[in-house]
């Protein structure tokens, strides 16, 4: 242990934006996001959850939904276990104007300081039977996860059947502070040809 009283925790700061999404056969959608972190993590600044605006695909262009929603969050912790995850849920409008789930996505925030362009691929639960998928189309209530944090869990996933389609693009800049005081080496500053485009 050192002679001086050092920091009691290390901090990570993530800034960036939820840029856009491309989802087949979806022209109007909004996104709900949430940060999920372990028990040892404490939120210092920023919003842990939020909802973007409802975006529409412009006429005559490739089907890109642009949100350009800012992300700004700071966490403090003593243990890297439980590193924060970004969980997103995209809701679109069906032809009757009701909110239906278009996909969930999840990813960990990067562990090395730097700038990242990340792609979250989306998936949504499949109906249990053909009859259920027809009635859910009719009533505008397709199968959803009852717990919005479910995509961030490692347990209990084996009983879910999903179908995938579409993706969300997120840009993140990550800064860390005092990790070296705790003896952590996160690999930033090395020659990482694979890091910048994920």
């Amino acid at each position: 242990m050192g002679d001086t009283i050092g920091p009691s925790a290390f901090t990570i700061l993530a800034t960036g934006q939820i840029e856009c999404a491309q989802i087949p056969s979806c022209t109007n959608a909004y996104l709900k996001f949430q940060f999920v972190a372990g028990e040892d993590w404490q939120l210092l600044d920023g919003l842990e959850e939020g909802i973007t605006q409802a975006a529409r695909v412009p006429e005559g262009r490739d089907g890109v939904l642009v949100w350009n929603f800012p992300i700004d969050i700071t966490y403090k912790t003593t243990n890297a276990f439980g590193w924060p995850q970004l969980v997103v849920a995209v809701y679109g409008l069906d032809m009757f104007g009701r909110d239906v789930i278009k996909g969930y996505g999840c990813m960990h925030l990067p562990m090395s300081a730097g700038r990242y362009n990340l792609t979250l691929r989306l998936f949504r639960p499949r109906s249990a039977s053909a009859l259920q998928s027809f009635t859910s189309w009719l009533t505008g209530m397709p199968a959803e996860f009852s717990d919005p944090k479910f995509p961030s869990y490692g347990e209990g996933r084996e009983v879910t059947r999903v179908q995938s389609g579409g993706h969300v693009k997120v840009q993140i800049n990550l800064l860390t502070k005092d990790m070296d005081v705790f003896g952590y080496v996160d690999g930033s500053g090395r020659d990482m040809a694979t890091v910048t485009q994920m």
Binding site: C106, M107, S112, G154
Partner: protein, 176 residues
């Protein structure tokens, strides 16, 4: 005591004969490694992907190991299974990859293989299902006797991993 954090996700897979896949995964580490926090085995969701797109699992991995000796650096092994329209599960690929030994953020592509039977067995498997499976599954990630095994290449499993270490440099370990 040195510690290792493996944080990331089992992103998905592509190149398999089926687009309806799930993965059983596990992490194996040597005797001098102790798992402090996290799950070292699990099973992903079953995902049906559209043609031409990769299968999406997005299964979070968060492991915290304590290390007393470098031998037996952790490795992740997978069994990729497909489910047909009748709901039968069949093995589609075995594979493994070592967790990178340098801290940083990685995108890993792990190739997989599947055991192959004789021509007669392959014809039966086409109609009835039932690819041959390994009897001793440690063969996938342990160096050992594989020369009697005939295999054929299967698809690729994608991983996005972040590796972070604590106090390794204090113990004079170089990462390069």
């Amino acid at each position: 005591m040195a510690e290792l954090h493996i944080i990331g996700q089992l992103t998905g897979a592509f190149g398999f004969p089926s687009q309806n896949l799930f993965c059983k995964w596990g992490v194996s580490a040597g005797r001098s490694w102790e798992l402090l926090e996290g799950l070292d085995a699990g099973q992903t969701q079953l995902d049906l992907a559209p043609d031409g797109e990769p299968v999406v699992w997005a299964h979070p991995l968060d492991l915290h190991y304590a290390c007393r000796g470098l031998a037996g650096w952790p490795k992740i092994f997978f069994q990729v299974w497909c489910q047909d329209i009748h709901g039968r599960n069949d093995i589609c690929g075995y594979g493994f990859c070592h967790v990178p030994t340098s801290p940083g953020q990685y995108e890993l592509d792990c190739p997989t293989w599947v055991p192959e039977g004789t021509l007669g067995e392959r014809i039966t498997a086409f109609f009835l299902g039932g690819n041959p499976r390994l009897k001793y599954e440690e063969v996938v990630y342990m160096p050992g006797d594989r020369f009697r095994l005939n295999t054929v290449a299967s698809g690729i499993v994608q991983l996005r991993l972040g590796v972070m270490v604590k106090d390794f440099e204090r113990n004079h370990v170089q990462f390069g």
